[in-house]
Symmetry: C2
Subunit: 461 residues, 2 copies
């Protein structure tokens, strides 16, 4: 495999006649010496390259701009500077690709500016760190489930299943919409109306009857016109489903899962976390690394929805909420979730047993006949990160819930068969990847946690 | 974590008073003994449970049907049978969920029949094996790239980029198509026409300028009306892109990659491969395991397109082809690819340096001015599994190719900027996940390699 700057720095030994390729980050000249920092994307750290201008000719260093790609030959020697252990004494330098009018200069650009050039922002230290951590999180997700004997199951993105009620859906068609005035989905590619999935849960549930434990991990879509820092029209979701798990087993798995992810990043992305930590200290005066370490070390608080309502309706802040808590049965708003996690408990909070009327039809009805065996895990600064439940395994109860929610059971015939043929106790949950990336990287806006964010009126690249 | 049958069998020791849950696979009664095979989806192997009918009462065993879910208490003891080491001596058995009119009975169902009940076919040994292997392949993909310092990059599924020419695209909209006669995409969710991606390559290329090596792994879509055993409208694709890799480095990586995947399955899915192997021996009289072992152990053949054309046009079979090879410049058909891999070389074949006119605009033009630095890896029985190239890094050559292919460069402004700001030599390839699942599992029809296949007029579940 081709050697990268990271390979060279990890080796950390002096070496003659090495060749590296990379991009110029910064350049500073002092009399007859020119220092250029080179990065090839294999590490957060730049390699300092030292050019003796008299030896190599002044023209060379004049044409080296930020963003230009270069090939350098030289000797890797111990550095006299404090910032690095090794530096490259340049013997020859070739410019591969110039970089005129390059928009990313060695100064602090706003995240909004960088978002408009998402195809270039990978080249900044901030987004190098964010996307390296996102990749590390994704791998940790796969590893956690594999170590716990789950099968990775790819549930469909295109679905005719319109019945989940999880949000507005995008329609997918191969009809030429500009030249067809009367749309008939019978003539469409699939012979029926087809949508982009909002969740793979129902399909994943069918998998556990043969595979015991499965998880999905793929893109999901919401056509909701929400212009917030917490919503995307296209995002990645993880959805495990487990045969024979009740709600308590579900909660234990979910807490272990999210702690495993954070621990993996703490262990494997130290330089990137330190870089982002410095940004958080500077901007919001808090330590990102302390927050993550605390999250891993403390037991999450667990309360019922009813207890949450009691806390909220009795707290001083209730009158200041945009939506004051008026009584049992209301849905919790982000401001309520933030109060519980940030002010009251000051740590992640698991809320269980929500009223059946504000939760999905597939959640298992509790014996009280008014709550369901649901659980949400709320994180400080983020709100809901995980939502799950024990699933209703009793066919008659499930049919009843479907009727109460005015869902057409014809769409769910296949799903209902799981309860007709060998039904079992089972549970699962869903986690939005970008929410956990937000929490771990400290990025304020969810649009900065995914390479090419999609939101209303934005689908560039 | 809740104990599974697999946990018990792995432990392989006698144990009293254990409880298991699972589904009834088969039942056979002999005088006062009833044997039921139980599976909980954690292993290919069933657990034999032995019921003394006199002790437990005959009614119990009468109501135990194939597909029913049961909870059993008993003692795990060494079995006297030859088929298994351990069996469960049942002390009590509860039926959790009945299974009346269950369509999957203990007989050989056709794959077509099972495809129509994709939500139930997970419960068969064939699909247990296929989807366990698919999951193992997916994990091996992530592990290979991680071990080689790649970043997993989620390129967008929704894209306004209409310029790749890789095939027909699905349109995505949030407009109510039945109640809007005059569609104007300016009023749509994204304010413009948006499609489902056919490839994440162009976006992935932008990533390597900051992250060095990246790979995508996600769903891709083709709205092509192909009703074949080799095409799906929704399939999963892996697309690595590497900074500073030329075509030869690209080929070495791709060959290592695909061999790593096969080796992982050979090492980690022995029972499942043996099960599928027996099916292949029975049906097509060949050893799946031998095929996979040979593939890993032999060096793939590498020839240029020009050499391939010479072989094909001079072979006896040329007159029998549906599309006889008439000369240099034609695109290779599946029958040609199969002849080269199955009859001529009898192993995987890498074909390089195709005519520029039959390949995509982004492939690097060779010095001969008529071929590009492309490579396809063809597999016996499958055809193209991997397609890749060195990318055209020279802006003027790239603009020329775009012009020759009549592509509107306005859609590619962002892509072209990668060549304006520090362009570099780079390469990449794409691999369709389902094709490699087909090769490794021996499934004839690609629709049996993905949980819920999507093809013309089929989007159930």
């Amino acid at each position: 495999m081709i050697k990268t700057i990271n390979d060279l720095l990890l080796d950390s030994r002096e070496k003659n006649d090495i060749e590296i390729c990379g991009w110029v980050k910064t350049k500073r000249a002092s009399r007859n010496i020119c220092f250029i920092m080179i990065n090839d994307g294999s590490t957060l750290n730049d390699l300092q390259c030292v050019i003796n201008v008299d030896e190599l000719g002044t023209n060379i260093s004049d044409s080296i701009n930020t963003g230009a790609s270069v090939k350098i030959n030289g000797n890797l020697i111990n550095s006299k500077g404090n910032e690095q252990n090794l530096e490259l004494k340049v013997k020859s330098i070739d410019i591969i690709g110039g970089s005129i009018n390059y928009p990313i200069q060695p100064k602090n650009h706003s995240l909004e500016f960088l978002r408009d050039i998402s195809h270039l922002r990978f080249r900044t230290r901030t987004f190098y760190s964010v996307f390296k951590i996102r990749s590390t999180i994704s791998y940790a997700i796969h590893k956690f489930f594999r170590d716990n004997n789950f099968i990775y199951l790819n549930t469909p993105i295109l679905t005719s299943n319109d019945a989940e009620g999880a949000g507005e859906m995008f329609t997918v068609t191969s009809i030429d919409l500009l030249n067809n005035k009367n749309i008939d989905f019978k003539d469409d590619f699939f012979g029926q109306k087809v949508n982009l999935t909002v969740s793979g849960q129902l399909e994943a549930e069918t998998g556990i009857f043969g595979l015991n434990r499965v998880y999905t991990f793929g893109p999901t879509f919401r056509a909701e016109n929400s212009n917030t820092t917490r919503h995307l029209a296209e995002f990645w979701m993880v959805e495990p489903e487990m045969a024979f798990f009740d709600l308590e087993a579900d909660i234990v798995l979910a807490e272990n899962f999210v702690k495993y992810i954070i621990t993996s990043v703490l262990d494997q992305c130290k330089p990137e976390l330190e870089f982002l930590n410095a940004l958080c200290v500077k901007k919001d005066n808090y330590s990102l690394i302390d927050k993550l370490t605390n999250t891993v070390n403390e037991k999450f608080e667990q309360i019922s929805y009813t207890e949450a309502i009691n806390i909220l309706s009795n707290c001083k802040k209730n009158s200041e909420f945009r939506y004051p808590v008026t009584g049992w049965g209301i849905d919790l708003q982000t401001e309520h979730e933030r109060y519980l996690t940030e002010s009251y408990f000051k740590k992640p909070v698991i809320i269980t047993d929500y009223p059946k009327d504000i939760k999905a039809f597939y959640m298992r009805l509790n014996d009280d006949n008014k709550t369901v065996a649901a659980m949400d895990i709320l994180f400080p600064g983020i709100g809901e990160v995980i939502g799950g439940s024990q699933r209703e395994e009793r066919l008659d109860y499930l049919m009843n819930a479907i009727k109460e929610k005015s869902i057409n059971p014809d769409y769910l015939k296949w799903y209902l068969e799981t309860r007709q043929f060998g039904t079992i106790i089972h549970s699962g949950f869903g986690m939005g990847l970008e929410r956990i990336v937000q929490f771990i990287t400290g990025m304020d806006n969810i649009r900065d946690t995914i390479p090419f964010p999609r939101f209303p009126n934005h689908c560039e690249f």
